[in-house]
């Protein structure tokens, strides 16, 4: 699923409605999904931050400048400096890799384990299905933050442990979605036909069931990605994630808390970045879900 897909889909819809060339330019300008484009731009920028942070900032995220503490935002320091004279913008840019990799790992855990469970349950049906889905009910019955905290207390604090803890809370959702998709596709006529023409179970699963359930799983993954960033920053803020010198976003906000009266930018800026990324992930997920609904 790329940007081109989403836009081309929209383009065809418009051409059928209006024919005139002069009006189509105006209508493209009017109907262009600015919000969606902005969402992709935000995600792309943050991805670039993780890959080439040096391109965006020259300052060291961990080394402060003596005498340059708690400076307000200026041309030299876009978002000001913190209590140790470290450039805040640099810390946010370099922190992207911690927050994003944590979220990707968390969603990865949820995706692999959850879809695995759902796929298995939906495929075998019967008693095993019943047991797996009851287990999923149990996971759902424990509020997500408490489940994360139970796993954190078990594994200890740290970036990877926080990611696993957040991922575990995503398992139930993925399992339910995947199972319902498998059951839905299984009952379709073309799947019956595939079985009838001699397809083995594994082959039908791979050729028909998986590709057909992919779109909704991708849309759900995007939502979960935003959710995971929120959760990881929450755990980081509570002090259960990455240890202090790390510029993780939640931790940045926690550190800025002591300077609320004097240096508002220390808490405001990283929070706005988190909001922007989560909003973008949700917006993109919505657009994937919509194209799916239209084609189906």
């Amino acid at each position: 699923m790329t940007t081109a897909d989403t836009f081309s889909d929209l383009d065809t819809g418009k051409r059928s409605k209006r024919a005139g060339t002069s009006r189509s330019l105006a209508s493209i300008l009017l109907n262009f999904p600015y919000g969606l484009a902005l969402a992709w731009l935000v995600i792309a920028t943050v991805l670039l931050w993780t890959l080439v942070p040096g391109l965006f900032t020259a300052y060291d995220p961990l080394q402060g400048v003596p005498g340059g503490q708690l400076k307000a935002p200026s041309a030299a320091h876009l978002l000001g400096t913190d209590s140790l004279g470290r450039d805040l913008f640099s810390r946010i840019v370099h922190g992207a890799v911690h927050s994003l990799s944590g979220a990707i790992a968390a969603v990865g855990v949820g995706l692999v384990v959850g879809t695995g469970l759902g796929l298995f349950a939906g495929s075998v049906r019967g008693r095993v299905d019943e047991i797996i889905m009851r287990f999923v009910d149990v996971l759902l019955s424990i509020p997500t933050l408490l489940l994360s905290l139970s796993i954190i207390i078990l594994l200890g604090f740290g970036t990877i442990n926080a990611a696993i803890a957040v991922g575990a809370t995503a398992i139930a959702g993925f399992a339910r979605l995947m199972r319902s998709e498998v059951v839905r596709v299984r009952n379709a006529e073309f799947v019956e036909a595939a079985f009838g023409s001699g397809g083995t179970f594994g082959k039908v699963l791979w050729r028909h069931i998986l590709p057909n359930s992919l779109t909704s799983v991708v849309a759900y993954t995007a939502v979960q990605f935003g959710w995971a960033i929120l959760q990881i920053s929450t755990l980081g803020f509570l002090g259960y994630g990455a240890p202090p010198p790390t510029p993780e976003w939640g931790l940045l906000i926690a550190e800025g808390r002591n300077y609320l009266a004097t240096a508002w930018w220390l808490t405001a800026a990283p929070g706005l970045v988190v909001v922007a990324v989560v909003l973008s992930a949700n917006r993109i997920s919505q657009s994937i879900g919509k194209t799916n609904g239209r084609s189906a």
Binding site: S141, I142, L146, L149, S150, L238, I253, A268
Partner: protein, 314 residues
């Protein structure tokens, strides 16, 4: 009908028992040891023998199955063990911390409901498409805001900039308003979303044009015909909202330094106080299961359409 009720209750009890077992496995398989963390502290100056006695008193070294059976029996009787860190029974801690959280959660939920209804009605009444879109995108904005950051921003804006709410020696009203506002935002978001979706869906039903043709005003239709049908399905997300409230309480109470179940949970994790965390997990799972059970059982009673259908089959 009664068979369905019994089956549904049995299923709820099964899930609850499994949740207890899962929390037991998670929290007893832990490598760290709360007794050691507390009592190995040189300040206590305890000898190895004394530590062994303490361990025996807490029955930590007996077999896992024995511990499991003991803990289960104790939980059934409302005895959640001792908090290692505070040295008092967990049930006593819960009793002192529950009222402030109930107050916070109750007020937060009330504020969230008002906010959500307000957003949903505004979005249906909005005269322009762009305004409607703007209002409808509010819930997704609310969902994307980290609760802890929102709390800090509210303190920043209302306490430090506008100086409306004093942080030092706050009055009874001042100490509550910001935490309640913080908690209301993440709860209002899913509520508003489901309300907007329901209202939009119900407005396309045939009885709406009929009411309009009979001369009902738009507001009258919205209030008397649409809202009544749109509010009921909100019950189905009651369990999810409960989880959100609890998670919100943990973060809100931590940021505002309030005493309550949330603050208790946060301290339990920091101190690896297992019995406290397990009690909170099991009790909240019980609350979640009970809420969902109550919604499932009450739904046919509240929705007359379901009642007649059930009456026909029973």
């Amino acid at each position: 009908m009664s068979r369905y009720v019994v089956g549904r209750i049995g299923q709820a009890l099964l899930v609850l028992w499994a949740a207890f077992t899962l929390s037991f496995i998670l929290l007893q398989a832990m490598p760290g040891d709360a007794v050691l963390i507390k009592f190995l502290n040189p300040e206590f100056g305890l000898s190895a023998d004394q530590i062994r006695e303490i361990r025996a008193a807490y029955a930590i070294d007996s077999g896992l199955l024995v511990q499991y059976a003991n803990t289960f029996a104790n939980f059934l009787q409302g005895d959640f063990g001792y908090s290692m860190q505070a040295g008092v029974p967990v049930s006593a801690q819960l009793a002192t911390n529950l009222p402030p959280t109930l107050k916070l959660a109750g007020l937060g939920f009330l504020a969230a409901t008002i906010l959500a209804v307000f957003i949903a009605f505004l979005s249906t009444m909005a005269p322009f498409a762009w305004l409607k879109n703007l209002i409808q995108s509010l819930p997704s904005l609310f969902i994307s805001v980290p609760v802890f950051w929102l709390a800090i921003m509210l303190i920043q804006i209302f306490s430090f900039r506008l100086k409306l709410v004093s942080v030092i020696n706050p009055g009874p009203w001042e100490s509550v308003v910001l935490p309640v506002a913080t908690l209301a935002v993440p709860i209002a978001a899913p509520l508003a979303q489901i309300l907007i979706r329901n209202i939009d869906e119900i407005r396309t039903r045939p009885f709406v044009p009929v009411a309009r043709a009979k001369g009902a005003s738009e507001i009258g239709i919205l209030w008397r015909h649409v809202a009544r049908n749109a509010i009921l399905p909100v019950l189905t997300i009651a369990g999810v909202l409960f989880g959100e409230l609890l998670a919100g309480a943990v973060v809100t109470e931590t940021v505002f330094g309030l005493n309550g179940i949330g603050g208790l949970t946060e301290k339990a994790v920091s101190n690896q106080d297992l019995s406290v965390l397990q009690a909170v997990v099991v009790i909240s799972a019980a609350a979640f299961v009970t809420i969902n059970l109550a919604v499932d059982l009450a739904y046919p009673l509240l929705d007359p359409r379901l009642r007649t259908r059930n009456g026909a089959t029973a």
